[in-house]
Amino acid sequence: MTETTGPLLAADGTPLKRKLAQSLFRSRARAFGLTLPLLAFIIVVFVIPIAQFLTQAVVDDRYSSLMPKSTIALAEWDGVSEPSEALAAAVVADLALAKENKTIGKVATRVNREKSGARSLFTKTARRAAKMEAPFLDALYERDKKWRDIEIWQGMKVASKKYTAAYLAASVDRKITADGKIVRQDEQRRIHITLFQKTIWIAFLVTLFTFLLGYPVAFLLSTLPMRTSNLLLILVLLPFWTSLLVRTTAWIAMLQGEGVLNDLFVAFGIAGDDARFSMIYNLTGTLIAMTHILLPFMILPLYSVMKTIPPSYTRAAKSMGATDWTTFWRVYFPQSVPGIGAGALLVFILAISFYITPALVGGQDGQMISNFIDYHMRGSLNWNLAAALGGVLLVIVLFLFWVYDRVVGIDNMKLG
């Protein structure tokens, strides 16, 4: 048989690969079928809503749907010359329509995001829009001299676009001008980059603290006899059985000015009664509470990896003359790295999107990006910006994940 250059054939002449696929199809289909309910559930309640929400970061048809005439006129306008009479007429007509439909508030809010002061201008003008007569541009100027400001018009032009990068730009402290350039946000409006930096910094610190605290615990757990280590493991897992909210509020009771810790400090003379430490409603409080809450996520992967490191490695190292420290650093530690990688990644990703704890104990300087997303969701009702901020956060996490894969290697990670 020398002519076997083509694909291998099964006994009945069909290609072997197809035959194999056929024979495995049934078992694969059944396995897939079993996962189907969960898959459907996740897609319906998780993937689709999130995807839809994230599109709001770039899609905004509020202006274009409520102010249709001026949208067309604004698209024709070059963005720098003085607005034409036709444009002014379209705007006045749209304002009158919006007033009648009681949607002027939405439009005003939308434009206000691009140029502050636009809201009052719009509501004020809209009240008279129905009675305005040509020439409309002069009528507008007469109504309020703010209409003479070209930036208002430019803001409207930006707002009128259905697909816009304005929110994404805003989430990284940039704004898009009417002629399509991306420039930095005004000094006092640059808050997001700093907030992202602080969020990453907090997540990094929490990861570091959980590692420093968790590593010895995991080591102890992995070396103790089974009975004792199981008992201690339950203690590690105990916080999981308590609500996150309860744990966070417990920290408030512990750390507040009149709290348990401060009382102890005063009792032992570490702090004066009139100079108690402020450990809560600030960055310190956020760090302490988050470290505590995320500690099990570091300990468990570390423990599962350390348990598999045979004691003969350390014995071998010592028999060869290595001191305890050398044995640990050259032999034990490198083998626990997969656990550190898994734990650190887990804690970091959870920490970077932490919300409840910083909201409760963070005060002013302990706030994270999630708290800001929440503010835009519930406070300012700027869902588009919230979506953009969430999208940026997602990209950051994915990027860090990619960096981690390049540096440590994802298959070098053991979760259990």
Binding site: P310, S312, R315, K318, S319, M320, G321, A322, Q335
Partner: protein
């Protein structure tokens, strides 16, 4: 090999270039200084060593053991007999509950493992998976702060010694079991220790490779002149490799002797049963006269035997006879041999030997091994035959 003749530190095994040490570099004066005055030929010594893990059961009971320099000693015994515990105490990973362990005349009970300078080979090899073969071998030299050039020479020499010179850049995971075993051996020897401990190092290898490695390890040990303490539960391994074998059971050394003595003159029935195949016949001592005793078997037969650890008439005894010392061919029976009736239960042709299961004096598991020779008859089950052995091959042991 010249390594053995170089002057070394007796604890850490370093080869010393100048014979006089200007300072006490181990930080323990008694290790080096006073050792010279003691004239003991024991290189390793256990003195009344006891070990208990839980304070209730003694794993090692009153162990006394001496071994001279250059000896290959095997600790043999079933699992839980205390042999590995002894090895771990010698290595320093377990502390003796009572008693002293001496290395070259110096007590080492309080010296941490990394300062003992004892090479060790582990059952699962314990090669560091994150280091290459070269880095693994270089590790013990690095922690001894030996210069890079020297390290490279020593690593290469050690690898060549186990014929693994081409594998220096491989990772342990890329090696086969036998290759890993050689690297583990080279790593234990690279820092030139005088004492090397091996904890069932061949346990994970297949039979053929194991036999090859047995030969290589003993050959290497004798060439380098190192002292080896080897732990195994495989009696064939113990017999083929060792200068002496210490048979452990229940935390006590049952017998310590060269392999041939151990096999042919076991001190007690545990050793007789544990080493090689053995037939036992239960009975009562009828009379003792110097180095001959008569035993009345439970079946009523009276046979002659060599008394080993029976002392008085009327005592219960187990008489032990090796299967290959039993003869069925009347022409081959030596003069003075003792004969007994037997019934053939099973005959197995094994090529070089015939293995026959007999019923002798009520014992259905009596094995006879006869060499395949032209004049040797093949037996059939049910046949009534007469078998015999020399009273000197028949040892009356404790019951």
């Amino acid at each position: 090999m010249q390594i053995a003749q170089k002057k070394r530190c007796r604890i850490c095994g370093w080869v010393l270039n100048n014979s006089a040490l200007p300072f006490d570099f181990m930080g323990k004066g008694r290790l080096w200084g006073s050792g010279l005055s003691q004239t003991q030929d024991a290189f390793v010594e256990f003195r009344r060593v006891q070990k208990s893990y839980d304070g209730e059961v003694l794993v090692v009971k009153d162990l006394n053991l001496k071994l001279p320099k250059g000896e290959f000693l095997t600790m043999l015994g079933p699992s839980g007999s205390g042999k590995t515990t002894c090895l771990m105490m010698l290595a320093g990973f377990e502390t003796a509950t009572h008693g002293e362990i001496l290395l070259d005349g110096q007590p080492i009970n309080n010296i941490p493992p990394h300062k003992r300078g004892i090479g060790m080979v582990f059952q699962n090899y314990a090669l560091f998976p994150h280091m290459t073969v070269g880095e693994n071998l270089s590790f013990p030299l690095e922690v001894r702060k030996i210069g890079k050039a020297d390290r490279e020479v020593k690593v290469k020499r050690a690898l060549d010694m186990v014929e693994m010179g081409d594998f220096i850049n491989r990772r342990p995971a890329q090696l086969s079991g036998g290759q890993q075993q050689r690297i583990a051996l080279a790593r234990a020897l690279v820092f030139e220790p005088e004492l090397v401990l091996m904890d069932e190092p061949l346990g994970a290898l297949d039979k053929q490779l194991r036999e090859k490695m047995q030969f290589e390890i003993t050959d290497l040990a004798h060439r380098l002149g190192i002292t080896v303490v080897y732990v195994t539960h495989d009696q064939t391994e113990a017999l083929t490799m060792s200068d002496r074998v210490a048979v452990f059971n229940d935390g006590v050394i049952q017998q310590i002797a060269p392999p041939d003595v151990l096999y042919e003159s076991p001190d007690n029935s545990f050793v007789a049963q544990f080493i090689g195949e053995n037939n036992t016949l239960a009975g009562v001592v009828d009379s003792i006269d110097g180095d001959v005793c008569q035993v009345k078997l439970d079946s009523g037969d009276i046979i002659d035997a060599t008394p080993v650890n029976v002392s008085k008439v009327g005592e219960r005894t187990l008489v032990s006879i090796r299967p290959e010392r039993v003869e069925a061919n009347p022409k081959r029976l030596k003069k003075g041999a003792h004969t007994l009736k037997a019934e053939v239960l099973e005959f197995i042709y094994m090529g070089d030997v015939f293995r026959t299961r007999l019923r002798v004096a009520g014992n259905d598991e009596f094995i006879m091994k006869t060499r395949n020779a032209p004049d040797q008859q093949r037996l059939t089950p049910g046949e009534e035959i007469e078998i015999g052995w020399l009273p000197t091959d028949c040892r009356a042991l404790d019951a």
